[in-house]
Symmetry: C2
Subunit: 107 residues, 2 copies
């Protein structure tokens, strides 16, 4: 455990919008505008999220024409999501302190 790298690691991911982006990218690469459309939210918001996720190595991007295609970094994200899924299954009741809010429904 070094410095506050750990805090940054978790802080970046503790966010509805970034997690929604990750959820979508887990099914395959997408451009910024595709993410906007699918999540029904502003382009700048998505871009801010993507910049953070990229800076900290959770996603990668690649230019294709005037689009920029984003994808998950599988090395970290696949085992991480698997680990959390297992934990969440056990502590769902507690972890899911959502008041009627469901996955993908951001406010």
């Amino acid at each position: 455990m070094i410095c506050n790298s750990y805090k940054s690691f978790f802080k970046i991911l503790a966010d509805d919008c970034k997690l929604n982006v990750i959820n979508l990218l887990s099914k395959g690469p997408l451009t910024v505008s595709e993410l906007c459309k699918k999540l029904g939210c502003e382009q700048s918001r998505i871009s801010h999220c993507l910049q953070a996720l990229k800076k900290f190595g959770f996603v990668a991007s690649q230019v294709r024409g005037k689009h920029r295609i984003y994808s998950l970094e599988p090395k970290i994200m696949i085992p991480l999501l698997k680990l959390i899924d297992e934990h969440v299954e056990k502590y769902h009741r507690n972890l899911c302190n959502c008041k009627g809010v469901r996955w993908r429904e951001m406010k």
Copy 2:
């Protein structure tokens, strides 16, 4: 990915105090007052952190006399910390956006 369990998962852990607690507990079980002394901070603060960590299954507790001994839940914490260590090693520069702040030095 279900509901906002994921967000809760990360949000809980994205905190200096809780991470310091986890860091200490990773070396062995401790009581609340021992944690307070080692981290040089208030009892209520530590207790609040411990309650959250416990609720979400990151630590367990056991009564011993008038003390309460806390320990990490190894099933989730050991692989989680290992995974992050590997990632942090790679993205340390970015993740560690600390301005002179070092591990265990909370403000």
